[in-house]
Structure formats: C-alpha cells, structure tokens
C-alpha cells in the first residue's frame, strides 16, 4: 500500500458515491403471520463499518440480523451481500458469522475446539487450523484457557471465546447479537473498546444489535435507530445525538427536554409560542421547514441548558422558574426547573469543583437559558 501524505480522512464510506456497499437491503419486508417485523426496509452498509442496530425489544433488530445470518428469509424484497443475492444461500455457506446473545458455546468442547469448530468444517490442513486458533486465542487473550471447558471460565472469558470463534473463519461480515448483555457495567465498557480494537485490527464489517444506547454510541461508526420494523434514523452517533430527525430518536437517545408549541414566525429562525406569558423560544430551523401555525416539538438536551440567578442578556431564550428537584449524580447535577406555565425543564451542570457550596437549592427562583442553536425543531 502506498502511504499518502494527507491527513487521515474521516471514515465515512456512506458519503462516497463511488463505493459499493457490502450489504444492501432492498425493500425488505418480513412478516410472522400478521405481525410485521421488518417493514419495507432499504439500507446500505459498507465494508469495515461498525454498524449498530438500536431499538427497544420487538423493534425488528434481531430479525434483521437473523436474516443476514440466514436463519430467517425475507417475505418480500432482497438482501445482497457483496453484490450477490443471498436469499438462496443457507447459513452454513454464507461468509457471515454470528456471535450469539447466549454465546452458544459448545459445552462438550474445550475453548480450543470451540474456536477450531468452524475451521475444521472448512477442511483446512491441521497446521493451518492450529495457527489460526492460536492467533485468535492471542487476539482475545485467551491462550491460558485453551484447554478449559466453557463452564470452567468466567462470563467475560466466555464472551471472548464466542467472539474468537465467530472471527476464526475471517468472515466478511460479523453479526453480534447483544454481545455484552450478560456482562456487568465495568466489564462491558472495557469490552466495548476491545471490540472496537479487534474490529479495527481485523478489518471485518461488524453489525451489532443492542438496546443499550450508550453502547451503540461508543462502538458504532453509524447507528440505526429502529422502531416497529422501520429505521427511523441512520446516522453517525454524533448526528443521531445532536440532530435527531424525530421526537422518537431525540427521546430514545439520551436525556432531552421536549417542548411542544406552534411556529409564529419563520425566517432563518423559528419562533415558537409554547406557553402563555412566556417569551417565544427562538430556535434554528433544521432540515424540516415550518410554516406559520405549524406544530413544533422543540428538543433540547439538558446539558445545553444553563441555569443562573440573573437573567442572561445574550440570548432571547431565557425563562424564569423555580427549582423543583435536584438530582446529584456525582459528575453532574440535574436541576428540574418548573415554569410558571407548568412545564418542567431539565438543566444540567458539571460538578467541576469538589467541596464547593452549591449555588442553588430547592425552591430557588432561577433563570434557565440556551442559545438559539442549542436545540432542534422537530415536526413530531
């Protein structure tokens, strides 16, 4: 490979029209009886991506993954892997491997034999199998446990065996079904970085199913937020968080204030009437265009709302209220400020200093404020 002396470009194959996607869903619908699990889905996933399917249980994310693995077939539409229609290819002949939620390690085989299982089916020579297994053991730091049985190792180690086993055949695509669900929080965070590291080292395309939004945001290059068989938004974690395209996405990812109102004036900013006796909220119009009188959901993240004793002068978005509740979370504090009109706005401040007297307490009258670009105006 030739090293080009330009700064490393941002990894964004979905913006490059010359690249062919590795996976293509074309109008895929999957029904189980009357239940529509996947509803007319079209999506491209690119090579080397770490693609996260995020959604509540029953949203169709596992069905999508099982269709990629070959355990389910689409009712309508086609799925392409590397340009090839994979409908007729059975699971054992796809260059796709899956890491199961339950890990599905073979209890009667040692760690070594579990990892070698897929390689033996490829009828590789003995030395090649042994080399590959040892490489996988090193990659997942399991060399010491090669001869243990799955019930003789810890949950975290089992998870790594499952990963090593699914990576051993060097699949084009690796599917991970809630891979970290069984691990405790600390181990899960460590493993997330391990996963990203392994993904980068092997260059495999990963599709991960998760219901943990933090996990999706941490590991993924793109996140697809799903609801009832539909992908509501597919975007980078930052854009999903900062520019959600709907109230559903804004609400699903992270903490958010949703203020309902009506547009009164729509120039470069949208002015929103939201409560009697309160000044209008001035927000930047996003992709959605609003006419006068349209319903607007104004979404703003609590950490973008500041709280002060005096009315700030530099923004039109300043509202007075009373502190209803304070949630101290250690690193941050969330203030629940009640407006005279009844809505509660959450404002977050980082606790940057230790042992400082808190500025505000319950029932204090305070001003909450935010800049005109801090929130997004959404249709619904």
């Amino acid at each position: 490979m030739v090293q080009v002396a330009t700064p490393k470009p941002v990894f964004a194959p979905w913006d490059d029209p010359t690249l062919a996607p590795l996976i293509q869903f074309k109008n895929v619908t999957k029904r189980f009886g009357d239940f529509v699990a996947i509803d007319d889905m079209t999506i491209d996933i690119y090579e080397r991506e770490f693609f996260a399917l995020l959604g509540p249980s029953g949203c169709g994310k596992t069905t999508m993954m099982r269709m990629l693995a070959g355990f389910e077939r689409p009712t309508e539409g086609k799925i392409f892997l590397g340009g090839q229609d994979i409908d007729a290819i059975p699971p054992n002949r796809r260059s796709v491997n899956m890491m199961f939620q339950s890990y599905a390690l073979f209890p009667h085989l040692s760690v070594w034999d579990n990892i070698a299982f897929g390689l033996r089916r490829q009828k590789l020579p003995k030395d090649a199998i042994s080399d590959r297994v040892n490489e996988m053991l090193r990659l997942t730091r399991l060399s010491k446990f090669a001869h243990r049985k799955p019930h003789q190792i810890s949950g975290g180690q089992r998870q790594r065996v499952a990963l090593a086993r699914s990576l051993a055949r060097a699949p084009k695509l690796l599917l991970l079904d809630e891979p970290l669900g069984a691990l405790d929080k600390k181990l899960r965070q460590e493993t997330q970085f391990e996963l990203m590291d392994i993904q980068e080292k092997t260059g495999t395309t990963f599709v991960i199913v998760t219901h943990d939004q933090e996990e999706a945001m941490t590991v993924a290059s793109r996140v697809a937020v799903m609801d009832e068989g539909v992908m509501v938004q597919v975007d980078t974690p930052a854009r999903i968080y900062e520019a959600p395209n709907s109230v559903y996405v804004a609400d699903f990812i992270g903490d958010v204030n949703i203020i309902e109102g009506r547009a009164t004036q729509t120039d470069e900013n949208v002015h929103i009437v939201w409560a009697e006796g309160q000044p209008n909220i001035v927000g930047t119009a996003t992709d959605a265009s609003f006419g006068v009188g349209d319903a607007v959901h104004f979404a703003i993240r609590p950490e973008k709302v500041s709280i002060s004793a005096e009315k700030p002068a530099d923004t039109p978005n300043a509202f007075e209220g009373k502190i209803l509740d304070i949630a101290y979370l250690g690193n941050i504090s969330t203030y629940y400020v009640k407006m005279p009109s009844g809505q509660t706005i959450k404002a977050q401040t980082a606790n940057t200093r230790r042992l400082s007297r808190r500025d505000f307490t319950w029932d204090d009258s305070v001003w909450v404020s935010f800049t005109t670009t801090a929130g997004v105006c959404l249709k619904g």
């Binding site: 693995a69 070959g70 355990f71 699971p91 599905a104």
Partner: protein
C-alpha cells in the same frame, strides 16, 4: 450424634432390605439340597449352642458353584442373556432415540401430552401387556391376520415363541426407560447451539452428529443401562413370548427354584447374576456422577 442417627436411617433400610436377604441367598447357595421344608440343609439353629453353629458352618460348601461350572447349560444361559440384553438394548436405542428427538422437536404445548403417552403403558399391569403381545404375535394374531389380509404372505409367520418375539417384547416394555433419559438430555439442548453449528459451516446433518448426539450422550448411556440391567435377568418376557427356544438366565433361575426345587443351585445362579450386574451398575453410577459434576 444426631447426624449419625440421620445417616443411619437409609443404611438400616439398605441393611434390612438388601444386605440381609442377599446374605440369606448366599447362605442358601452354599447349602445342599435335601427333601424337606425348607429344601436345603444345614439350617442355623441356636438351641444346640456353640457346637450347633460350628456344625452349621461346616455344612456350607461351594459344591453348587462347582456344579454351575461343570454344566454348560448355565454358561450358555448367561452368555445368551448377555447377547439378548445387548441386542435388545441396542434395538431399544434405535427405536427410542428418534421418538425422544421427535418429542423435543414437537411444539411445546404438545410435549406434556407426548410424555404422558410414553408413560401411559405403566398404568396397566406389565403381565397383561405381555399377554396382549401373545395375542398380537401368535399364528392367529393381529400381525399375521393383517399381513394375510394385505396379501403380503400366504402362510402365517411364526413369530411367537421365537427370539424375535422376545426382542419385540423387550423393546416394547423397556422403551420408556430409554426415551425418558434421552428426552431429558435433548430437552436441555439450546437451539442456538445448532444455529451456531450451522453458522460455523455445518449442514443440518453434521450439526446433529457434532452437537446434538454428543450432548445427548449422557441420556443415551443412562437409557442403555436402565434397559440393559433389568433385561439381563428378565424372566417374564422370555418365558411368555420366547417359548422353549430362548435361553435366558432368568428363566433358568425360575425353573431351578420352582420346577426342580433346587434352591441352592437357584441361589448360586442368582449370586453370579448379581456379580455380573455389578459391573454395568457401577459404570452407570459413575456416568451419573460425572454428569452431576459437569452440571454442577
């Protein structure tokens, strides 16, 4: 002390119901046949004091065991029993495994019903069920009538009073003992293991041989022992269905007791049968133990 008292209960139970009768059987096997009641001598009497006890032990000898060695009927009966029990166990496995497998593949709401159907025969007397097979397999029996009616045969087949009838009877009688342990092993099998095997390049058939079969092995071993051990000493089935052609040690034992009234020889036959059975029983216990360790 209390712990000792608690543990002693099962041991006293074993002592009273297994060890004491077994010692009596051993004692009889070492006695001589006489025409009296009971039909063996010597008998232990305490009225004559120490001298009587010494005389009693002097009266015991290994004559019956020597007799068993010298007469090839007994060896042949043991070997024939081992052969029949082994073949019948294997046939029961061949029939039982697909049934157990099919039961675990059935819809979950059907499984209790299917289990019920497997256990249902136990609700009627074993003897009556074997008699029923005599009606089914006989010259005028249902099987022959059906085959004649279908035109597959012109002459009724001789099934009853042949080894074939014994095998049919054993497979039928002991099938639940084979199905239940295999079913319980297969039921625990996680479906995602089979999906994982397929995902890693197995066809459905090789996934069965590489995952399902080894994981049901403990059930298979348990089922085989549960069939093999009682079949080895089986008496009712060979005597009712096997006729005079089938030589099995259980039948020999019965004839020694009730036809010949030779209790010492019959007891010796029973003692040797037990010694032969100890090997598979110990192996069975070890298998169970290993399984418990693997699960625990």
């Amino acid at each position: 002390m209390r712990r000792f008292a608690l543990i002693s209960v099962p041991y006293i139970w074993l002592l009273a119901l297994f060890l004491v009768p077994f010692l009596i059987v051993i004692k009889i096997s070492l006695s001589d046949t006489v025409i009296s009641i009971p039909p063996y001598a010597p008998t232990l009497t305490f009225s004559e004091g120490w001298g009587g006890i010494v005389a009693f032990f002097k009266g015991l000898d290994f004559e019956t065991f020597e007799f068993l060695m010298s007469d090839d009927l007994y060896w042949k009966a043991y070997l024939s029993s081992l052969k029949i029990a082994s073949i019948a166990t294997f046939m029961t496995l061949l029939v039982g495994y697909p049934i157990a497998y099919g039961m675990t593949r059935a819809a979950p709401e059907w499984r209790p019903t299917l289990l019920m159907l497997v256990i249902l025969p136990f609700w009627t007397s074993f003897l009556i069920r074997v008699y029923a097979w005599m009606g089914i397999l006989g010259q005028e029996g249902l099987v022959n009538q059906a085959l004649l009616w279908l035109g597959l045969i012109d002459q009724p087949l001789v099934i009853l009073n042949t080894p074939t009838a014994v095998y049919i009877g054993i497979v039928y009688t002991y099938l639940p003992f084979m199905i239940l342990p295999i079913y319980s092993a297969l039921e625990k099998l996680d479906d995602s293991l089979l999906e994982a095997a397929e995902d890693l390049g197995c066809s459905k058939l090789s996934a069965f041989w590489l995952v399902t079969w080894p994981l049901s092995r403990n059930g298979i071993i348990a089922g085989c022992f549960l069939v093999f051990i009682p079949t080895l000493g089986e008496f009712v089935i060979p005597s009712l269905l096997g006729g005079s052609q089938t030589l099995m040690i259980g039948k020999v034992l019965w004839e020694e007791f009730f036809s010949n009234r030779d209790w010492p020889v019959a007891s010796a036959v029973a003692v040797i049968l037990l010694l032969i059975l100890i090997i598979p029983i110990v192996l069975f216990q070890r298998n169970e133990q290993k399984q418990r360790e693997a699960e625990g």
